[in-house]
């Protein structure tokens, strides 16, 4: 058996719908025979009648509705057609779901799925990585699975958590990533994973950039350096302890993310390590992000805009030389 990252997300939802009557899926085109723009809910409307519902093109109301249902005991999963369109639901996510527990003592167990990140030819409005916007505000858990296994178990975790979860699944990984089978259990929520052990440099990454980082590490291994690669898995909470422990081993840090460069995950990682693990660092920490422009349409531009394993390797070499 071989299962893709996308299939894992579908399977997780099938399992959730099967195991828990409180779960329903709400989003544009998720229902009917269609099963979503990326087919992440294919067949589920038929298998679970009345529980996989198409919505109007109304992202604000989709999330608002989910919040209301969650307050009445349901466990809604909202699918955004593309992460980018969650910009018009951001108010409900940040200001309604994100504040509710703190204000009223009642948590809002919604899961908002964001098909995220760049793919060839998708352009400025179908390629965004929005984890940093959501992680900046209080009250949300922000997940960024990088593997088929995590896509599966973390989505199941997300729905189990009483607090709102923004689940950033990467569209580039949908078809590119395959696993042999699905695990029963994953790592605990909020814990980062050592995706590749090493001793010379720590690369901290997540989502699609994990794989670019792993290739870079592979390449540099030929040059005799062992790079440790940390997969954050969730960017909020961010597992500082695991990152610091890795830097303690390697003395060097490179943070790699696909979203825009100002602020965000890589800045947060460097800020934490610099503040809490300054004495562990033998060289200046560094980061690579996408460029500070909208995400380009043409593949030539897109592949320059996003960090590549080549760019990561080049940066890693520079740090290793310091």
């Amino acid at each position: 058996m071989s299962i893709t990252y996308l299939e894992a997300i579908r399977e997780a939802q099938a399992k959730l719908l099967h195991d828990d009557k409180r779960v329903f899926i709400y989003g544009q085109d998720v229902g009917g025979s269609f099963g979503g723009a990326f087919k992440a809910t294919k067949g589920l409307a038929k298998e679970f009648p009345g529980r996989v519902l198409n919505t109007p093109i109304s992202e604000d109301a989709m999330v608002g509705t989910a919040i209301g249902a969650a307050l009445e005991g349901m466990r809604p999963i909202v699918e955004m057609q593309f992460a980018d369109f969650s910009s018009v639901a951001l108010n409900q996510i940040l200001n309604n779901a994100g504040t509710h527990y703190w204000r009223t003592n009642i948590p809002v167990p919604i899961t908002v799925r964001l098909p995220s990140g760049g793919t060839k030819g998708s352009g400025p409005f179908h390629s965004q990585s929005m984890e940093s916007l959501y992680a900046h505000y209080p009250g949300l858990i922000v997940m960024t699975p990088a593997t088929v296994e995590d896509a599966y178990t973390m989505l199941i975790d997300a729905v189990a958590i009483d607090d709102p979860v923004v689940f950033c699944e990467h569209k580039y990984l949908y078809y590119h990533l395959k696993a042999d089978n699905l695990p029963n259990d994953g790592m605990p929520v909020g814990k980062a994973r050592i995706a590749r052990p090493g001793r010379d440099l720590t690369i901290v990454s997540y989502s699609a950039m994990l794989h670019e980082s792993l290739s870079a590490a592979e390449e540099i291994a030929k040059e005799g350096f062992e790079i440790e690669v940390v997969d954050l898995r969730t960017v909020k909470p961010l597992d500082t302890a695991t990152v610091l422990a890795s830097v303690a081993r390697t003395g060097r840090l490179l943070a790699v993310g696909e979203s825009f460069p100002w602020g965000g995950v890589t800045a947060e990682v460097i800020a934490r390590v610099s503040a809490e693990g300054f004495h562990l660092l033998d060289a200046a920490p560094a980061r690579i992000n996408a460029k500070d422009t909208p995400i380009p349409y043409h593949p030539n531009l897109w592949s320059t805009h996003r960090p590549s394993s080549k760019a990561i390797a080049a940066k890693a070499r520079k740090i290793l030389r310091e």
């Binding site: 329903f24 009345g50 919505t55 109007p56 109304s58 992202e59 604000d60 109301a61 989709m62 999330v63 608002g64 509705t65 989910a66 919040i67 209301g68 249902a69 969650a70 307050l71 009445e72 005991g73 349901m74 809604p76 018009v88 108010n91 409900q92 200001n95 309604n96 994100g98 504040t99 509710h100 527990y101 703190w102 204000r103 009223t104 003592n105 009642i106 948590p107 209080p138 009250g139 949300l140 858990i141 958590i161 009483d162 607090d163 929520v189 909020g190 909020k236 909470p237 961010l238 597992d239 500082t240 302890a241 934490r272």
Partner: protein
């Protein structure tokens, strides 16, 4: 025209009789009131009950405003002077199991639906014993477990939240519940309210939206808010049933909103009531509302609903002077009690506070404390 008061005597079962007609009729046309509607003559308990909530609200909010002027309230104070008739009608027909998502000027409705006055005082004073425990204040309060949703400020955002709650109730097999939410004519211009109303109709949930056109959004008059002839015309565009309402006339408020509630409960499409009124206070107590023109103050919708109701009660001798006096005293006493109880309670302290925005303490981000501690 269904849903409109008819000027006749308001009988004990006025709601039922209307419904018997309404159920089998095709989707309502939006209704327009007759010019100069006459006050009704309601020999009815509900009318008096509603009056007492209105009186309590007015008394409470006058006290609150005076405390604000005395510098005893932090932040803003937002009252519903002139809107008590509409508001009370929003709360008085709701039952346990219903959902109420009030907004700024809904004290009468909140009280009628069961919010203890002391919780209002607590929220304004930031008491730790209040529903918001000093974390949020003034009108931003609720007890979601009791069906009282806690509004966020962003206007229109609560409409879809009610829709979701109603879907969940239906999904669970609950029966006979409805949701009611309020909005201003200003709030109706937000994208969120549009999406919320549309999705309510698509999901065919038992929702009543009571919109109050009080002729201003803060300082902005209607002509810079919308350009349609009548906001009730939006009902048809969403697939709602729609009604206009003279919000100064308590009998009409009970009739129209009561009918809408019954119709929603009976499975009709979502209901939109658009009430007309003038806000008789500032947007908040910091606001002298000097932008309200003299002309508009002379409009029929500028009448004080509380005075109008009391005049009806006196004229029709629904209650004698002594009873009215007693009610007034009881209201004052209730208000006094609410504030003095809340005032005795501890306020929060930063050091003792549980600074976690999520319920899963094991998932709190290790980012460190922040703030001034």
């Amino acid at each position: 025209m269904l849903g409109m008061t008819d000027g006749g005597v308001f009988s004990e079962n006025f709601l039922r009789s209307r419904l018997d007609v309404g159920y089998n009729r095709p989707m309502l046309q939006t209704a327009r009131p007759k010019k100069k509607s006459q006050p009704k003559a309601p020999a009815h308990e509900k009318y008096l009950e509603a009056f007492r909530w209105m009186l309590l609200t007015r008394t409470f909010e006058e006290k609150l405003a005076s405390m604000y002027r005395g510098g005893r309230i932090t932040g803003g104070v937002y009252i519903g002077k002139g809107q008590e008739a509409v508001s009370v009608a929003c709360g008085i027909f709701l039952q346990k199991g219903d959902i109420f998502a009030p907004l700024i000027r809904d004290q009468a409705g909140r009280s009628a639906f069961g919010e203890p006055l002391v919780d209002v005082a607590r929220t304004y004073l930031g008491s730790r014993a209040g529903p918001m425990r000093g974390r949020d204040g003034n009108i931003h309060r609720g007890k979601p477990r009791d069906g009282q949703l806690a509004m966020i400020s962003h206007l229109g955002a609560m409409v879809s939240v009610v829709v979701g709650s109603l879907m969940a109730k239906r999904g669970r097999g609950e029966k006979n519940f409805i949701g009611l939410t309020t909005i201003g004519e200003g709030g109706m211009q937000t994208g969120a309210s549009h999406e919320g109303m549309n999705i309510a109709a698509v999901e065919h949930v038992p929702l009543v939206v009571v919109a109050t056109n009080n002729h201003y959004a803060y300082s902005t008059p209607n002509d810079r808010e919308f350009a349609c002839a009548n906001l009730v015309d939006r009902a048809r565009g969403y697939g709602f049933e729609g009604y206009e309402l003279d919000g100064t006339d308590l009998a009409a408020c009970l009739d129209v909103i009561g009918t809408a509630v019954k119709r929603a409960r009976a499975g009709r499409p979502p209901q939109l009531v658009v009430a007309s009124i003038l806000r008789l206070a500032g947007h908040g107590e910091h606001d002298d509302f000097s932008y309200v023109t003299d002309d508009i103050r002379r409009e029929p919708f500028a009448i004080d609903c509380l005075q109008r109701t009391e005049a009806v009660i006196r004229e029709r001798e629904l209650a004698d002077a002594e009873t009215l006096k007693r009610w007034r005293e009881e209201a004052a006493e209730d208000v006094e009690n609410a504030f003095s109880a809340a005032q005795r309670e501890p306020v929060p302290s930063g050091d003792d506070e549980d600074w976690s925005a999520i319920s899963r303490r094991d998932l709190v981000d290790e980012i460190g404390e922040g703030g001034s501690s």
